[in-house]
Symmetry: C2
Subunit: 417 residues, 2 copies
């Protein structure tokens, strides 16, 4: 493989996570090492707001920013959300009308900055961007190595054991649910607490709420994932049984749970709420269940939507996740320099006990636009909880604690000016 000399650029895309900046810090560290060694990479740029900003030529000199302030890299690694900004832009598909217009503009900017290494940190949609840029570069014979660096709290990318960002979100959920279990246990009056957790298609995050089973012995009474059809009838039966055992019942549900006919529970058909114009009221999955339980059981019920903090709680991250996220970023640079392109970096689990992993990469065209669901053997037969096997898979990913530095009571984030 011949050495490809030139500059590198990195961008972030899709929903933020608590670890996507750790991956960015890994790419920066990898590139700065390569620059310092006088290797293939001469300069490292960052695109603001992903390809959206790149098309507007909004480019940051990351090498200069961090070469003069190395401590900032540690701060960046523990800053939540996407420090470079993000976007949700989908590049035009091959051979569509405006493909040439958009892609030629993008490649003209890459050429202007002599970019030969393109790193894109993101989830499923971002891997689609990586695939399209790879394909267009080949079509136009533009020499560039394009590497996708995965991140998503949803853990729904195939080809990798799990995704950077997932472990920290799972840890935040597992810890917060332990705290909610402590809180809801203080009263003796029968009460149901619904915890709504992110995940439209895949239930990985919701499954993580049960991790206490392996550690503290406490976990939600019931868990419902989008991988199984939800039935109000079975749910009421499950709930009745749980309430007969103890007064404080906690139920964890994925936002994406739906009935057998595909209707989302969050559409609130059961609760029947409508807005001023008679439209169905999209109250959210937890709220819809809260209203339904109130109508059916008449008992005290509350719903808690964990919401954005699931993906941005940088104050409580998994050390395993942050270390892997950094390593995946650094390895992406090493892989690209050694000739890898059109690939997404992956994490391969070597062993679970003790936990060990290696970094690999897979053909981006095999990976993009597919979803990894929670497998059948991770869900119990009744479809109202997860199995031990699921929790044994998940546990290593939330281990270890890393905390950002604080000044005057608040965390010291790295913020791009």
């Amino acid at each position: 493989m011949k050495i490809l000399h030139g500059n590198a650029i990195v961008g972030q895309s899709g929903g933020p996570t608590a670890a996507i900046n750790a991956t960015l810090a890994g790419v920066i560290r990898g590139a700065l090492d390569e620059i310092a060694a006088g290797g293939a990479i001469a300069r490292l740029y960052g695109m603001r707001n992903g390809v959206d900003g790149l098309l507007r030529e909004e480019i940051v000199e990351l090498d200069a920013l961090f070469a003069e302030d190395p401590a900032a890299l540690d701060r960046l690694a523990l800053t939540p959300a996407a420090a470079l900004g993000s976007c949700r832009r989908k590049l035009p598909a091959a051979d569509t009308e405006n493909e040439a217009e958009v892609m030629d503009k993008l490649f003209a900017i890459l050429e202007k900055y002599d970019v030969r290494y393109f790193f894109y940190i993101g989830g499923n949609d971002s891997m689609d961007t990586v695939a399209k840029i790879s394909a267009y570069a080949e079509k136009k014979n533009y020499p560039i190595r394009v590497v996708g660096v995965p991140k998503t709290i949803d853990n729904d990318l195939i080809g990798t054991d799990h995704t950077p960002g997932f472990g920290s979100a799972a840890k935040y959920i597992a810890v917060t649910v332990q705290e909610i279990l402590r809180d809801t246990a203080v009263y003796t009056v029968p009460a149901v607490t619904i915890v709504e957790i992110m995940g439209r298609d895949a239930g990985w995050l919701t499954a993580s709420s049960a991790l206490g089973r392996l550690v503290t012995g406490f976990e939600p009474d019931l868990i419902y994932l989008p991988e199984r059809a939800f039935s109000y009838e079975e749910f009421y039966a499950d709930l009745k049984e749980a309430l007969s055992r103890h007064p404080n019942v906690v139920v964890a549900v994925s936002e994406g749970i739906h009935l057998a006919d595909g209707t989302f529970v969050g559409e609130g058909t059961q609760s029947g709420a409508v807005d001023a114009f008679g439209h169905r009221y999209l109250a959210g999955t937890g709220k819809a269940l809260e209203l339904a339980i109130k109508a059916e059981f008449g008992c005290k019920v509350r719903s808690i939507e964990l919401n954005l903090p699931q993906r941005c709680a940088g104050h409580l991250v998994s050390a395993t996740d942050i270390e892997e996220s950094l390593e995946v970023g650094r390895s992406a640079v090493a892989a690209a320099v050694s000739g890898v392109s059109r690939e997404m970096m992956t994490i391969q689990r070597v062993s679970t006990e003790p936990y060990a992993f290696t970094i690999g990469h897979e053909d981006i065209f095999e990976i993009a636009n597919q979803t990894k669901y929670v497998p059948d053997e991770f869900i119990n037969e009744r479809g109202n909880h997860v199995t031990d096997r699921c929790l044994i898979y998940l546990l290593p990913l939330i281990k270890g604690e890393l905390y950002p530095a604080y000044a005057d009571g608040l965390p010291c984030h790295w913020i791009l000016k």
Copy 2:
């Protein structure tokens, strides 16, 4: 003051906090020291679920539990929620029909266990309990020293500079809002994020969301507290102005904000949502504003209710708060032994820069059933933000970080069997 020999009992009451167990740990430490020194207190009992459990004679031998496992006291101090359980029972008022029935039963149990020291950790309603037990003991000439130990995340008790438990909730909110500010800043599309924060009557917690102003320079664009009447018209004007400055607008509101006529915004009159029976839909304050903004501005909008984690996030507490909470508990024992009764322990601020405090106590009859509101000089003229003076008062209370011990990725809580 003659020495009163006998046993002590402690209970927790009202809503849980992340620091109420630190206060309990302080009471236990104080009592164990007194017992070890052969002082006035012979034994320390705990009541399960406050006076509710006491009336059912559900009593725990706290001295034995912790004397044999001293490390457990440190674990207890960093465990969220009320480890002894809580209740919301209001004791009968003086000279009402069932006063004698309930109170005689309660005092018979106290006498059976030779209880001469009664510590009750709680908020406003719990101080009412302390007042009633004090009054009845005097009426019946039952020698007992009754001391209220304050806790409430709401910071709305009078007679004390602030309440134990508030600092940790305020820190959780201030940190989480910083993270939400990072998260919502990643996109360039105009969007409004509403953060709903606890506080029916007083806006202390919502005010804390602005603490970034003094530290990071980032804070919510707009803040609305229940101390000022809320006007949709002014809100829309404020929001329009904020959106003209930058695309990502964050608004923090107390759950208790209401219109000039007293209607709670959370009642959703503006959003017009009704349930299947045409009843007004109680979607919550944030959700009501979300719907109203969507209708008025048509822009992207989301609401985040911080919900229970505000009061039970033991994974991120204020070191200042935990240390004060412990100290208030320990001081309550010392005060009672020295003759104090019918009083609530208080925190008196000695100086703000550097921050220093002392522990005092105030007549419970002067304190119970009153509310401390955010004062006028802490709110700006327009009523859509807080002043620097407010933040200078708040900042010391969130300083310092304490973290629970973790095992296998989850916090080690102390749980009563």
